[in-house]
Symmetry: C2
Subunit: 384 residues, 2 copies
């Protein structure tokens, strides 16, 4: 498939070394220096607490960015939400990939085991006996031992076994021939965007604390497990205080978004230790009204999240973006502020970064105003 950005811009190679104003819009622009600062900051926070990172590639859907996270250091693996993502990451050379959702149904189990036979660094979570038996049987047939983690549900209900059932289930998984139990996953996705920092931290410590209790009990019983993985960008700093947690599945910290930036952070400050590294460039395509302009980025370029619209940057005062259909957005200057002119460019911090990135094909990598590279969003659309 031809990539629209490539053909429309005359190819990636032509853009390298040029000013980013030469990029056709709407397009995603990744500030490399800000990205690197975010990656190093999370590495150092984890290191300071004796933890490792297992960054989640569902956020950026880009194996080049995953490789940069790995190269920054402090990583024990990369997470994938789906099998199809894991395939691309492993092929791209990431040594260890954890699939954080159960891989269910016969054809998919067969593909998973075939992949694990080629890449021993593949791990997957499991939350049901029926699924564990299917994985074990396929692994035995392939002559491999599949490394698994038990997915523990942090009372969210999406996937996982309950706290009450987790220990028994893990003991049962541990003795299945064909599987090797490495530990537990407990990812509290529903806590990551709680606005109040103290509430977010205390609820996360309470829930992950219960998973840690199960983990300790299993270790005390003699199970040779070594991984308790969980946490996200919102709760990461609180979760660093949980002694048994081995690694953090942080995702959004690398590029950030409007949803995270509106949260409260430590000491009454905003949640701003990590800085937005990814923005969308857009162009004013209609300007026939006194109080707003229409830009070329709508629902198909900026994922709709009612509570956190994209944030216009680089303009004085408080600008407001409104989705205006599938293809367009509406931009309101602050009262008394001048509108941008027809054809003028505007730059927006993304709403929810994960599904917004998943709408695009390329990350245009910049340093200052110069385009230095283009990274294909090669996991985009891989939902299987």
């Amino acid at each position: 498939m031809m990539n629209g950005n490539l053909s429309s811009d005359g190819g990636v190679t032509d853009m390298r070394g040029r000013h980013r104003d030469g990029l056709d819009t709407p397009c995603l622009v990744l500030d490399l220096d800000r990205l690197d600062r975010n990656l190093a900051l999370m590495r150092d926070l984890a290191r300071g607490a004796g933890k490792m990172l297992r960054p989640h590639a569902k956020t950026h859907k880009c194996s080049r960015l995953a490789a940069r996270q790995w190269a920054t250091g402090g990583c024990v693996g990369i997470c994938a939400a789906k099998l199809a993502e894991a395939e691309v990451l492993l092929e791209a050379g990431i040594p260890e990939v954890l699939i954080t959702s159960p891989v269910v149904a016969a054809a998919r189990v067969a593909r998973l085991v075939a992949l694990a036979a080629r890449f021993p660094g593949l791990r997957v979570v499991v939350d049901a006996r029926e699924n564990a038996l299917a994985l074990a049987s396929a692994a035995r047939q392939a002559g491999i031992t599949l490394e698994v983690l038990v997915d523990v549900d942090p009372e969210m209900g999406r996937t996982g076994v309950s706290f009450a059932a987790a220990a028994d289930f893990a003991q049962w998984v541990a003795v299945q021939d064909g599987l090797r139990l490495r530990g537990l996953q407990c990812y509290a996705g529903h806590l990551q965007h709680i606005e109040n920092a103290e509430e977010r931290a205390s609820r996360s410590r309470a829930l992950l604390g219960r998973a840690a209790e199960v983990f300790r009990r299993l270790r005390a019983s003699g199970l040779p497990i070594d991984l308790l993985t969980g946490a996200g960008t919102g709760t990461a700093e609180a979760d660093l205080g949980i002694p048994d947690l081995s690694d953090l599945q942080v995702g959004s910290y690398c590029v950030m978004d409007a949803e995270y930036l509106k949260l409260g952070g430590a000491d009454g400050r905003r949640f701003d230790r990590f800085q937005p590294a990814l923005t969308l460039l857009s162009t004013v395509i209609s300007a026939n009204h006194a109080d707003f302009v229409t830009i070329d980025a709508g629902l198909k370029q900026l994922y709709f999240t009612p509570d956190a619209p994209p944030l216009p940057i680089g303009r004085p005062g408080t600008w407001r973006y409104e989705w205006f259909g599938d293809e367009h957005g509406r931009l309101f200057p602050p009262p008394g502020g001048a509108r941008p002119a027809l054809g003028e460019r505007v730059e927006l911090i993304l709403p929810h970064c994960d599904p917004t990135i998943n709408l695009h094909d390329l990350l245009w990598v910049t340093q200052g105003d110069t385009v230095v590279d283009a990274w294909e969003i090669d996991l985009r659309g891989l939902g299987q």
Copy 2:
């Protein structure tokens, strides 16, 4: 770029002639017979009123589907929302393409005119003098005459000139050297989803009626314009009654979605003349709760529209889908109904079809339960 569906299913060719249960999920399935019935029905409705169709490719983002609309007959052109979409449609052999949003900014104007020089069937709307002057100048330099339509704003504010300014602006455009004015566009996107059929119809007739008035005045003044284009799936039947309307920019009618299906239709019936032809297949990947299961389709596979969640089909009673994060959804059986089992497949009618299709790479084309083809969603992601 490798297509995940292709690699994960062992290639499109391998799937042809096989049962659709062999498709990996989540994936889009297009029922060819239902599609063809929808295409023929809209063609016949338009013909009955002496109108032509100009179906909008922003809905399906697929040049194969556009070609099928064209082949069904009754079409005077295909619409594209953006220049990058028009490029692909024209290259794929569609003879006439109208870009329904203004194409603004110097680099893009240059690309537009270069495309028009190769494909004389390209037309574009214009809503500002500055933009019209840029188009005219670029067209003269390229030695071509660019066909344009004046975009008239149906009091929606997105793009277009006001009703009051439309006639003067059109007269001015008509005398610009390098441009040829073909007519007016008036697309009332904000009316398409009004639930009450009578209100939807009367408001559309009132607004399009005002555009028709401008159109008649311009013709009476001697301007040789022949196109008054507008209407969408929601207002199409009402708009057929407007004598001056030349063609209808219908989009969703070809595949339909949950948003349209919940509207009121004629005679107190639901809006159900057009039948859902496109569904998403999904798989239950976790089933540890009594009252719901978790499936493998979330925000990245089914566009979030708070008012019209996807509709589970083929199951007795009223099932309910809830988005459950970026990668997952939650499916609730009706009270007392049995849950689907782990690994079982579920089929969903799309929420808003346009941005949902834009999340996927392929339409798996089926007849009955058999996969007969795979159409690449080759305009996907082309927002420039």
